[in-house]
Symmetry: C2
Subunit: 255 residues, 2 copies
């Protein structure tokens, strides 16, 4: 059985894609066979791993519309042990179709063929609580919630946790929060220290010990199409995501 | 006739809310009667101006469901000349209803009663190209597109401009881009300088001359429920948004 983890937060720009890509890369570097699934029509995780933005439907779109063999939706990446199911802009069009069908479990079923051939399946989701994100919440058993160390990101957290509880009760009873990840921590500002402390105070058992620093190397890496473990393996960003990978594996073992 | 301006970008966390709130505050400070409309169910613009997050339906939700008088949806803010139509989480529920109706012009019609009693009506939109954002694109004549000085934000720009062109052809022929606003510019990093230069090269006539610096004062202000003109009127963030307000007024006069 694979551990299926969705990275979610409806607040925009909090580090969902950066976390999905780099956590997946660190798990793969360590030797865990990992599949990254890009569920965002913006396809940032796809381009962040060096694949050009493709107007034509590909990857997850073909998987959800059952075109071709499921394994054809998967592409290998430059990182050993890391495969990708890419996204495309056309995925946004599916959102309307998925919304009309009562069946929220399409994505969970579409990913079934891959269950067992990977240790970890990581889903990157868009900044919304729409159908694609709900599908990712139904497909996963575990959630990682990146929280940017800023005011607006903290505000939306209570609403997100309530929504997750509703999904658990109605659509996916096995869903649980693996952890809250504090991201883009800027050690120079009191605001950032305040939010990092607040998250720990409000959610002491959920928060990961690892805090991801704000570092320009993490923002540069996607423009080279590389995860941080390839772009700058000895950087503080790479170390932080390796520490996160360690905590994720430990928490999964205790489940 | 009011100038109706929507602040849009499906990329998350690029500074849409920060721009909508602070541009509206600078226009009001200057003496222009301004109405800010929060079209995002996250209601960040609402809390950024000091109004508590309200679970009960209010503001734009009531306006779109035609409950009560339109003017009851408007609340005055602490800033003279600045009024707000607040958002609430329930607005997300309307998205499904709006999607099912063929009628994309609900928001444009709902805002008609306010046209003429304000010089500017500014709409803050969510990070998606869903029904609420499309409604804001149909309600507006002018668009401001914040572009964070980072790689992923630049990537999504071409797709956004194509989508806007489609909306202009099918739903709103008077729609035009007033300008691209470079935000969160960090003068210490080459990445930021590179993106700021790239945006100017690709879109020389669209880009605003004003570039908003990354400054912690802009990130702190919403936790006090104040626009930057009240929280720290002499800060570089306040100066930058005043310069933007000047450019916006000049461009509107030339239309
Ligand atoms: N720790 C960090 N340090 C510096 N920059 C970062 C860090 N994490 C993410 N970024 C940058 O911040 C921006 C937002 O991050 P990212 O795109 O990963 O967020 P997201 O939550 O996936 O956004 P969206 O809501 O649009 O999907 C990106 O430009 C990214 O490169
Ligand atoms: N110029 C700036 N300097 C420093 N911080 C900023 C600046 N502009 C915005 N921020 C901060 O960056 C974060 C993202 O900005 P904001 O919420 O305005 O973006 P958004 O595009 O509205 O996000 P969403 O996509 O979730 O609606 C916020 O925490 C905000 O306070
Ligand atoms: Mg993302
Ligand atoms: Mg916003």
């Amino acid at each position: 059985m694979s551990h299926v983890i969705s990275v979610v937060n409806q607040k925009g720009g909090v580090g969902k894609t950066t976390t999905a890509v780099n956590l997946a890369a660190c798990l793969a570097e360590w030797g865990h066979k990992t599949l990254l699934v890009d569920v965002d029509p913006q396809a940032n995780a796809t381009s962040g791993l060096g694949f050009p933005l493709n107007e034509r439907p590909q990857g997850l779109y073909k998987l959800l519309t059952e075109e071709g063999e499921p394994t054809q939706a998967v592409v290998p990446t430059k990182t050993p042990n890391l495969d990708l199911i890419p996204s495309c802009a056309a995925l946004a069009g599916l959102e309307v179709e998925l919304a009309q069908s009562e069946h929220r479990a399409e994505m969970r079923e579409a990913l079934m063929p891959f269950n067992g051939s990977y240790s970890f399946i990581i889903l990157d989701s868009p900044p919304s609580l729409g159908v694609l994100t709900v599908s990712a919440l139904v497909a996963a058993q575990l959630l990682i919630i990146p929280v940017q160390s800023e005011y607006y990101a903290l505000e939306g957290l209570k609403h997100l946790l309530r929504t997750i509880e509703l999904i658990r009760q109605s659509l996916n009873p096995s869903l649980r929060v693996l952890g809250l990840l504090r991201t883009m921590h800027d050690t120079r500002t009191t605001l950032s220290h305040q939010v990092v402390r607040d998250v720990e105070q409000f959610f002491p058992t959920l928060v990961f010990k690892t805090v991801i620093p704000r570092t320009v190397r993490l923002a540069e890496a996607p423009s080279y199409g590389e995860p941080i473990t390839v772009y700058d393996p000895r950087s503080s960003g790479a170390q932080a995501y390796r520490a996160l990978a360690q905590e994720v594996v430990e928490r999964c073992q205790k489940l």
